[in-house]
């Protein structure tokens, strides 16, 4: 069993209250950081930790912090991205709901490091009950001198505010989030300038994911070097994985990134195997945007090596034979699932969520949805598959923000690895309405652990 740095105390009775959280060792990192460290030293520790952004992009958090501009007399802001909306991802919700003080603690330390006196948590609007939990935690922290004016007598002032979004996946993109925080439509901005130079209200801003900011707590408590010893290679520390789909134990798991994909799927400690005794067909290991992989490539790399649950191993083979860690939203498809149907469902999602600003994404996501609908209903033509491929190629890389890529990749990977299933939907259109393709596309017997 791996180490837990974030969720270790999540099930301690009463941990949502300041009193219990504090008794369990909470807010030590605030005392340590504010009383004994300079903001620069904190940034240095985060750099040493190797912590990578947990929202999906995996960009080194310490480096992102070091980019923040510090013009004289201009306030700076930290914004916590709690707009968790990537299908398959529900880890931040879990953290905020069950151990809210961990996020608040991370926010205070990070605000101090970045010089933010007013920090905002932008949370997706549908998580409508969580702002109450967070605001309660904020009020308690404030009542105990960890927030507000002159925190712990150090002279540092900080307020944290919770802002609800209102239903828009795009607001998880940091410049769209900033627009939304300013009371506008969530249209991503053209970069540069990056938020670190001109963010919310034109001020230098850092936007970080919930899990990233919570991870600052163990980094400060244990030191960046100690944190970096957990995990492997550039996948340091622990990672929250939200697992869903056709598995026995869906839920949120904290892993130390040294376990194999096979262990993650089949061990009772994690997903507990495929539901109803079925066989594994495919996985989308990092949220709906990342490439879907058939079971054989999910469990082993193209070179035949064991695939592990970390950034490097999940992306081994590039998009040709690999995928990505992404947001850690792990979606499992059993043998009865239809890849065409799943891809259609995701394409519909991206069409719905495109902000409409860039033509390739606005138009392309609609075309992809229509073509996939047609194929799924048995009304497609063989040329539709090539047309789909062509459209996704024309979206990828041609938009202001990564939503275009996020919409293109699932379609590309589905065709890349399951082309025969798409073709079967054309050649056996009537049959495809009554049964699924199953595992027929595997030329080798599928690997099923005993």
């Amino acid at each position: 069993m791996g180490r837990k740095l974030l969720l270790e105390k999540a099930h301690v009775e009463g941990i949502r209250s300041f009193e219990v959280y504090r008794r369990e060792g909470g807010y030590r990192s605030v005392e340590k950081a504010l009383k004994t460290m300079s903001p620069e030293e904190i940034v240095e520790e985060v750099k040493k930790s190797g912590l990578r952004g947990r929202g999906g992009a995996g960009f080194p958090a310490g480096m992102k912090w070091s980019f923040i501009a510090k013009p004289e007399g201009v306030p700076r802001h930290l914004v916590c991205n709690a707009d968790e909306s990537e299908p398959g991802t529900f880890k931040d919700r879990y953290l905020m709901e069950f151990i809210p003080h961990l996020l608040i603690e991370g926010l205070i330390v990070s605000s101090f490091a970045l010089g933010s006196n007013a920090t905002y948590i932008y949370i997706r609007g549908e998580y409508a009950w969580i702002p109450d939990i967070l605001e309660e935690a904020i009020a308690e922290a404030k009542a105990n001198g960890f927030l507000g004016k002159n925190i712990l007598g150090t002279g540092f002032d900080c307020e944290i505010y919770v802002q609800r979004g209102a239903g828009a996946y795009i607001c998880g993109e940091e410049t769209a989030l900033i627009e939304s925080l300013e009371g506008k439509r969530g249209n991503p901005r053209i970069k540069p300038p990056f938020p670190a130079i001109k963010g919310v209200w034109g001020r230098p801003t850092v936007v970080n994911n919930v899990e990233t900011l919570a991870s600052v707590v163990p980094i400060i408590n244990e030191g960046g070097e100690e944190y970096a010893k957990i995990g492997v290679g550039k996948s340091t520390g622990t990672k929250l994985i939200s697992a869903c789909g056709n598995i026995n134990k869906p839920g949120v798991f904290e892993i130390d990134m040294t376990i194999s994909v096979e262990e993650f799927i089949y061990s009772d400690e994690y997903c507990g195997g495929i539901a109803n005794g079925k066989r594994l067909k495919a996985c989308i290991p990092g949220g709906s945007s990342v490439p879907i992989l058939p079971a054989n490539l999910m469990l082993k790399t193209a070179k035949g090596e064991t695939r592990y649950m970390n950034y490097e191993s999940l992306s081994d083979g590039g998009f040709a034979t690999g995928s990505m860690m992404g947001s850690g939203g792990f979606i499992v498809l059993d043998e009865d699932q239809c890849v065409v149907r799943n891809t259609y469902s995701l394409a519909r999602f991206y069409r719905h969520e495109s902000c409409g600003q860039c033509s390739p994404c606005r138009e392309g996501t609609g075309w992809m949805e229509k073509l996939l609908y047609r194929l799924e209903k048995g009304e497609g033509k063989s040329s539709d598959i090539d047309l789909l491929w062509d459209i996704q190629r024309k979206i990828e890389g041609n938009t202001i923000c990564p939503l275009g890529d996020a919409a293109a990749w699932p379609v590309a990977a589905a065709i890349r690895h399951f082309r025969d299933e798409f073709e079967w939907h054309v050649s056996h259109a009537a049959e495809a309405q009554t049964r699924n393709f199953g595992l027929a596309h595997y030329s080798d017997p599928i690997h099923v652990p005993a």
Binding site: P75, E84, S85, E86, P87, G88, T89, F90, R93, A118, Y120, R124, G125, E126, Y127, A128, W129, E159, Y161, Q163, R164, G165, A166, G167, A168, Y169, S180, L181, E182, G183, K184, R185, G186, W201, S242, A243, C244, G245, N246, P250, G251, V252, I284, S288, G329, I331, L333, Q337, R341, N342, S345, L346, R348, F349, H352, E353, C355
Partner: protein, 166 residues
Amino acid sequence: MVQFSEAQMAKVNQIIARYPEGKQKSALLPLLHLAQDSFGGWLSAETMDYVAELLQITPIEVYEVATFYSMYNTKPVGKYLFEVCQTGPCMLNGSDNIIDYIGKTLGIKPGETTTDGLFTLKTVECLGACGYAPMMQLGKHYREHLTKEKVDAIIAECRSAAAANN
């Protein structure tokens, strides 16, 4: 006439105070949530104009935001709004059957409201509850691991709550 109460106005001012001087437009999303909750579950033109006036911004700035975000209803909805997720992971766990079942039970299609004005069925995209699928949002909370039996119970619960309020 659309108007916040004194207590609601205190909340409005508290929200506006979170932002720097002159950046009160940032309060638009929170105020639209408050307005929708306060004035019948949807945003009429009158409500949107009122919010614009409160924030000293133009009405179009409110309209474009209200129509962009999926949680704002720009048309009236039933007293109980069933927002059922249909995206990938929920679909893998049978959300289509749940949507069909709710529709048949209530005699409406997605996007429609029952004639008694009690229920609206709406399909939505991923709500971040993929591990607890199939699911829907009802008011402030999620209803997860939905089955036909659970749907029946939720509908009965809404009907009796509505009856108790009349």
